[in-house]
Symmetry: C2
Subunit: 281 residues, 2 copies
């Protein structure tokens, strides 16, 4: 049996920092038996304002660190990295499944829309790369897709500004472009950054009940489960899986900010500091 | 004459990204004859939420890139890097002056205060390191210093959210700790992050006329001029100096965001992309 065929091997999940914990959370809830390794590249977070070249390089280094730990699958739990680096990573690691968050998010938004007017909010990098726009149009060529960056939401989510009047006013200002008369009214909005589910309540209030919000964390977890099943890689019947955390900087801050994104406390003492910046690219 | 004795050599200025352009601007206005090289470590921005260990490493790599370009002086135009890395850099480069923004900021706040109650707003890294607190108490042992992180201000400054009612409400919420009854009323507030001068107008409105704002950009420029004069390194009588820009990622984004921090447009085509992450540390 090849290493990648060992069902007990962990699933490797990486993100630029803490945001990907929303994806890890969803995977753990759906697949409690799986062993998981999460890597947050906190030494270089955020990816969302950096160039495709740098993000691809960082994603390759993060993936390498997980591959060295013998994972059976790679999950890119970061929209920006999924947008630019999924193809290079699938090319580099053809023997294991490599899953990003864009494909599942595009699937879900095409399922959800009736008017075929879909909005996307994401980081600058994801919007500029047009990854969601292209992925949605591949699936639903007649759709109209409007994407806008909402960089402020990342800071709000990390600072724990998740609700209240002031947060609602900020969210209204950032989502203003979707309410311009020159844009068709959308009926589906993709939360195209792993930080944004922290603001889901307020975003829902601002956009109203007529707009479905697509949260890529839950959908990606489903895609992970489906793919493991197809490949015969599910860790069925085992005891509860273990979760291991790696960061490239600041375990203490990671542990503190993680509480906004992960359902259980993560003690800083259980977070391992790793250096991936020296990996050749 | 040693290389560092050549008055025509440029002054090297570095920051985590665009914020240090406020310092560069002030140096250029005060010393128009000087040649300047600015390095923004945009591949790893921000420094303010990263650990002292990582920021010191990044600062050493940035300094090395400037030293290789034969600068006559190093200016750390980033509060977080000044807080943690000035001593290592002074040790590494004893032959040239190395100036940070914390010392000049502390000097100016001690000059400005009458009540000896001084407030500091900065990034998490600068606050946690207690650099301003220590620097002010060294100069004025009887002072009381209250420091609070205002991480959201960085995002507001970069997004161009510099004024208006909503920005004022956000600034009020962030500065709330300075208006608690259990804190003595401050009469001086240090803007301890190079991004914050972009919000100076609103911060002034919120704090009121009774509170002096200390903007480290202007004060650091004065310290640079004083030190060059003392060392006989001023480039007197020369033609207008040249300014060169280096970034570690994304010249296009740098050029765009720079408009919020620098008085002249910087064409992306004039910004050179450099790699410093491979430098040994």
């Amino acid at each position: 049996m090849s290493a990648s065929g060992d069902v007990q091997l962990p699933i490797g999940v990486f993100d630029s920092g803490v945001g990907g914990l929303t994806v890890l959370n969803a995977i753990r809830q759906r697949l409690p038996n799986e062993n998981l390794i999460y890597l947050g590249d906190t030494a270089r977070v955020p990816y969302g304002t950096k160039s495709a070249l740098s993000v691809t390089r960082y994603a390759e280094q993060a993936a390498k660190a997980l591959i060295e730990r013998n994972v059976k699958m790679l999950v890119i739990a970061c929209n920006t990295a999924s947008a630019v680096a999924i193809e290079p990573l699938q090319y580099l690691y053809p023997d294991i499944p490599v899953i990003g968050v864009i494909g599942p998010g595009a699937d879900a938004s095409c399922d959800a829309t009736q008017s075929q007017h879909i909005g996307v909010i994401a980081t600058e990098g994801t919007v500029n790369n047009q990854a969601y726009q292209n992925a949605i149009l591949e699936r639903l060529p007649s759709a109209s897709v409007v994407a806008h960056p909402c960089s402020l939401f990342v800071a709000l989510a990390e600072e724990g500004w998740h609700n209240g009047d002031l947060v609602k006013q900020i969210v209204e200002a950032c989502l203003e472009p979707f309410r311009h008369v020159d844009h068709p009214m959308i009926d589906t909005l993709v939360l195209g950054c792993t930080h944004f589910p922290a603001l889901k309540g307020v975003i829902g209030e601002v956009m109203g009940d007529a707009v479905s919000l697509v949260d890529s964390a839950e959908i990606t977890a489903r895609a992970v489960a489906d793919r493991l099943q197809i490949d015969g890689l599910l860790n069925i019947g085992a005891v509860k899986g273990e979760v291991q955390f790696l960061v490239t900087d600041g375990p203490t801050r990671f542990a503190r900010v993680a509480q906004h994104f992960f359902s259980d406390p993560i003690p800083a003492s259980e977070i391992q500091l790793v250096d991936i910046q020296h990996f050749a690219h």
